[in-house]
Symmetry: C4
Subunit: 358 residues, 4 copies
Amino acid sequence: MIEAGPPNVDLARVVKLADFEALARERMERATFDYLIGGSWDEITRAENETALRRRRLRPRVMLDVSSIDLATHVLGRKAAMPVGLAPAALPGGTCGGAEVPVARAAARAGIPFCISTFSVCTLEEVASTGAGDRWFQLYIQKDRSITRDLVERAAAAGYRAIVLTVDIPVPGTRERDVRNELPAPDHFANLPGSEAHGQERDAFVRELNEQRLSWDDLSWLASLTDLPIVVKGVLTGEDAHLAVEHGAAAVVVSNHGGRQLDRVPATIDVLEEVAAAVAGRAEVYLDGGVRRGVDVLIALALGARAVFIGRPYLFAVSVAGEEGVARALGLLGAEVSTAMALLGISRPADITRAHVC
Amino acid sequence: MIEAGPPNVDLARVVKLADFEALARERMERATFDYLIGGSWDEITRAENETALRRRRLRPRVMLDVSSIDLATHVLGRKAAMPVGLAPAALPGGTCGGAEVPVARAAARAGIPFCISTFSVCTLEEVASTGAGDRWFQLYIQKDRSITRDLVERAAAAGYRAIVLTVDIPVPGTRERDVRNELPAPDHFANLPGSEAHGQERDAFVRELNEQRLSWDDLSWLASLTDLPIVVKGVLTGEDAHLAVEHGAAAVVVSNHGGRQLDRVPATIDVLEEVAAAVAGRAEVYLDGGVRRGVDVLIALALGARAVFIGRPYLFAVSVAGEEGVARALGLLGAEVSTAMALLGISRPADITRAHVC
Amino acid sequence: MIEAGPPNVDLARVVKLADFEALARERMERATFDYLIGGSWDEITRAENETALRRRRLRPRVMLDVSSIDLATHVLGRKAAMPVGLAPAALPGGTCGGAEVPVARAAARAGIPFCISTFSVCTLEEVASTGAGDRWFQLYIQKDRSITRDLVERAAAAGYRAIVLTVDIPVPGTRERDVRNELPAPDHFANLPGSEAHGQERDAFVRELNEQRLSWDDLSWLASLTDLPIVVKGVLTGEDAHLAVEHGAAAVVVSNHGGRQLDRVPATIDVLEEVAAAVAGRAEVYLDGGVRRGVDVLIALALGARAVFIGRPYLFAVSVAGEEGVARALGLLGAEVSTAMALLGISRPADITRAHVC
Amino acid sequence: MIEAGPPNVDLARVVKLADFEALARERMERATFDYLIGGSWDEITRAENETALRRRRLRPRVMLDVSSIDLATHVLGRKAAMPVGLAPAALPGGTCGGAEVPVARAAARAGIPFCISTFSVCTLEEVASTGAGDRWFQLYIQKDRSITRDLVERAAAAGYRAIVLTVDIPVPGTRERDVRNELPAPDHFANLPGSEAHGQERDAFVRELNEQRLSWDDLSWLASLTDLPIVVKGVLTGEDAHLAVEHGAAAVVVSNHGGRQLDRVPATIDVLEEVAAAVAGRAEVYLDGGVRRGVDVLIALALGARAVFIGRPYLFAVSVAGEEGVARALGLLGAEVSTAMALLGISRPADITRAHVC
C-alpha cells in the first residue's frame, strides 16, 4: 500500500532515478515493492528494457551553440515542458491522497502529461480536481461497452486530453512475485462503481471485466465516441502500429507493459525503429519501458519517439516522498536531458536525428 | 531412487516448473538428483538448451479475438490437449509404483502423449494397464534384432501408439556426476527379461546390448515390422532429418538428449529451423531440451515444431509429489501456454507463424 | 588532494599501470580517488573504454628482425620517445609541488609530451620553469575571449608547443561520485587570476566561465591567434573530425573525456577508424581513454592513431609516488610497448598497419 | 619445482584433464603452479584459448556404423595412436627423473609424439635413452648458429624425428605472476653446456642466447642442416603459414604459446581456418592452446588440424602423479575422443569434415 506522508527522506541525497528504487526497496512493504518492481514469469523482458537502452551508443557533435537549451516539445499538439510523460499504473492500494493526487500535482508543476489508469485509486474526477495539467485517461475496452463509453464521457467531461487504449492485456500477465506474496486485491476500483463487491482476486476480476473478443474495429468504435485523440498503448510490431493508425490512432506507445505482460518480448527500444518506420509520420510514437536516465530519453527520440513515458521511477518516488519525490524525480530527469542535449550538441528535442545514435 | 509417497509438498506454492527442480534439489538423494540434472562432460549443451530458448524474442500481435483459447493440437494424427508430451527417460531406480505409473496417469489426465523408455522401471505392459492414454514406446535397435522385434510387438500389443527410435546413443555419453557418485546400476531393466543378472555397470550393459553398427536401412527394417508410426529421436541436422524421412520416419525429434550425450552440440532450438526446412512438411517435427516455460513451447512452434517434449521437469515433479506433482506441472505449463497465446494474439497452436518470433 | 611526499611505495613491486590504481584506491582520500576514477552517470563509457580495447585482437608476424626496437615517433613534428603523451587533467587540489611539477619532470625525463590543463594547480609558467620538455597547453574558449587570448599568449611565451582545445565540455558532465562526496571546490585555479573569489562549486564556475555559444569559426579564430598548432580534443565522429581539420586543426584527439562527459558514447577505440578515415591524413589523430597496456597503444596505432594519451594512470602514479611514480609508470608502459612490438614483428611505430589487428 | 614420487593421488578419482589442474593447484608450490598456469600480462589470450573452443558447436550425424572406432592417425608420416601430441615446455626445475623422463615414457606407452624443449631439465640424450617413442626436438635459432647446428645434430643422432622451430619468442613474454613471485632461475639448462654459470634471470639469459635478427631464410638454413622435417610453431596468420611452407616447413603449429607470449592475440581455434586455408594442404597443420576435452580435439580437426598438442594438462598430470598421471591424462583424453567420434558418427579422425562444426 502506498501512503503519502511528509517526506522523510533527504531528497538532496537522491541524485538519480534509481535512487528512488533503492529507497523504496528499503522502506516499502515487500509485497508492495514486489508488485511495483515485478515483471511476468522470468522477468527477462522487464530487465531487458533497461539493459537494451544501456547498450545503445550516442554520437555527440561538438562546437555547436548550446547556450540556450530548451527541453520543451509538443505532444498530441500540446506543449510539454520536456519529452517525458507519466505512464498509467494500477496502484496496489492506499488512499487517494497518497496515490494519484500527489503525482498529478507534480506532473502539472513539471508541465508534462500524466496518464491515470482506469484502475486508479482516486476517481478520475478527484484527480482532475487537483487543478490544471495535461491529463490523459487510460482505459481498456470492457465486455460491457457501456462501461467503456461512460468512462470516455467522464474523462472528457473532467478535462482529460487524451484516451489511452491499452491493447496488450487481453488477459493479465503472470507476475509470480504477486502470486507468491498472495497480494491482496484492492477493496475496490474507484472509477468502477460497484467494484467494491467483486470479492475476488484482481486478475480474475480484470479478466471478467475486460473484453477478450477484440478487433481493430473496436478502435474505430472508440474513436467514434469522442473528439479526444486516441493513443494506442502496447504495440510492439510495425504491423500493429500500421493497423492502429489505419483505425484512427493519433499516437502509439511502443510498450511491453514494463515487462509485466508477455515475457520474452523485445525491449521496447529494440522495436522502436520498426514501429516508427511503419507509422511513417502519420501519428506520434512514444515509448515506455526501462527509461531511467536522460540519455535514455534522447536515444528513444533519435530512434523515432516523440516522447517517452516513465512508470516505476515515479511510483517509487511518490511512495518514498510523495509529491516532492515525484517533483525531484522529474527535476533530476530534466536536468539529465538538458545536460545530455548540450553534450550531444543540440538545443531542442527536434534537433535530434538518427545520426545521433550508432 | 524415486519413490512416490503421499505428496508432502504444498503444491499451491509451486508456481512454475523450475520450482520442482528446486524442491528436488532439496529433497532427493544427491546421486539421484545428479543423475537427473546432469549432462555430459562440461554440461555446456545441457545449460544452453535453456539459455538459447531464453534468448529468443516473441513478436506479439494485439486487438485480436482471444476469447476462446484452445491449446489442443494433433500429434501423429491424434488429438493432444496441448502441444506438449513427456519424453522417455531411464529412471535411476525405485519401484514401479513410484516411477512410470504415476507419470502415465498424470499424462492421461492431461490428455497428452507419454513416451516410456525401454529402460523403464515398470514393464511396458504395467504402464499400459493403467488405462487410457496416448502412450508411445521408445527403443533402441539392439545387436540381437529379435529383442527389438519383440519389444515392438509387445508395444503394439499393449496399445502403444508410436515407436520412438532413439538414434543419438550409439554409445552412452559421459556424465561425470554419475561417475563421481558411483551411481549404482539398477537391479534390472523390467522390459528386458534376464537383465537382472547383468551384474555390471549400466553403461557397459547398454553398450553391449545396443547396436553400434547402424545404418538408415535399420530404420526401414524397423518400419517394416509394424504399422505404428516411427518417430526418430535425436536428430540435430537437416541432413539426418531428410534421411530419417526418406527411410520412413513419421516424425523426427530435434533432441540432444537433454545435453546428456555429445556435449558442445547446439541447443535444440538453434537447429530447429534447419531441421524443419529439411523435413519440408513431409513429417512432423518435435523438439525437446530446455523447455521450462509456456513461451518456450510457443517459440518452438513458431520455428517449426508441432509439439515439444519435456523431460526433467516431470521427473522432478513426480519425484517430489508423485502423480499430483506431474499433474500440477502440466497444469502450470498449460496455463502458461494459454496466457502466452492470448498475449501473442493467437487462439490455436496452428495460428502461430514464423513472424511471431524475431 | 594530491600531495607529493617521498614515495613510500616499493616501486619494484609495481609491475603494471593498474597497480597504481590499486595503490591509490588504498591510500588516497576516498573523495579524491573517486574524483579521479569517476565517470559521468552510470560510468558505462568510462568502463567501456577499457573493455573495448581488451576485446581487440592482434595479428602478430614472426621470423622478422626485431633486434633493434625503437619506440620513437614524431608528434606534431617533434620527436617523442614513444607514441604516448600525458593528457590534461584538472587536479582536485593540493600544492603545486605535488601536482603538475613532478608530472612535468617525469614526462621530460621520458621524452614525451605533457599537456597541462587550464585548471592546473600550478601556473603554466611554474610548470614551464621546470626545464626542457615538450609541453602543450589545454584550454577552453571562454565567454570573455580576452581570457582565452591571454592564455594562448602566456602559453606561447612560456614555451608551450601546442594548444589543445577541449571541445567536449560545453557543460560539465555529471559525476555522481563527486555529487555524493560533496567534493569541495578548489580554492582557486592558478592560471585564472581572480578565481580565488569564485566561492561557488566547481561546475557552476566552469559553466559561467566557458563559452556555450560555440561554432567552428571559433576554432579558426583561435588558430588566428597563434602560430602554435591547434589540437582539437574531444571528437567522436568523422563529421566533426572533418570540420576540425577544415577549420585549422593540426590534430584531433579521439576522446570522450575518459567517460567523464556524456555517458553512453562509444569507447574511443571503437570510433577511431571512422575518425581516421574522415581525417584522411590531413592532420594527426590521437586517442585517449582506457589505455592501460602497451598492447593498447599498438592497437590504437594500428587503427589510425599516431599517438595515445594517458590520464588516470599517471594521476594515480603521481599521487602514490610523485615524480618517481610517473617515471615508473612510463617505464613500464614503454617496456610493454617494446615487448609487444617485438612480438608483433615490428621495429618502429610506423611499421604497424591495419593488418596487425583482426 | 616438479619432483616425481610415487603417485599419492587416487587416479581413479581423476575423471577429466581439468582435475589435474585442480590437484596441482592444491599441491604444488605456488610459484611453480603460477609458472605453469600463467599467461602474459592480463592473461586474456590464455583464457580465451579455452573459452573460444567451448563456444564452438558440433553437428553430429546419426545412424552410422561406429562399431569400430580407431583414433589412430598419421603425423609427419608416422602413425600416432591418436591425433594428440605433447607440446614442448620449459619446466621450472626439479631433477630429470621428475621431469621429461616420466612424460616421455607415458607418451611412448600411449603411442603419441612428445616434443621436448631446448630448455628441458634432462638432456635430449637422457630423454632418448628411455626407449622407443616418437620424439621431436624443439629449438630456437641462437645468435651463435653453431649452438643451433649442434642441437640439430644431437637431436638427429639421438633419434628425434622432427625439429620444432619455435618462432613466437623473439623476446620472452611478460608473465607477471613470475615477476611477482620472483621465480628463481633454473640452475642450468641441461642441453646447453656452460649454462650453469649464467647467473642471471631466465628471461635475460634467453634474450641473450636467442637470435632476434631472424628472417625466413633462417628457416631455409635450418632445413638445409638436416633431413628431419621442420615444424614451425607459433604461427597465427595465413601470411606467415604460407611463408613457413614456402621456406621448407613440413608442418606449422597454430600456437600462441599458451597465451604466454603476446597477450591479446586470438585464440588459436579462431585462426586455425585462416592458417589451414593458406597452407592449402602443402604441409600439416597442428594446433595447441586450450585443448582440455576430446571434443576440443575434434573441433580442431574439423577446422583443419591434423593433430593437436597439449601442454599444461600433462604438466599438471606429471607434477601430481608422475608417469602414471600422464598416462591417466592421455587415457582419459583418448576415451573422450573415442566417445565423441562415436557420437559424431565417425570412425576415423580422417572422417571428420568442416560440416561437423557449425
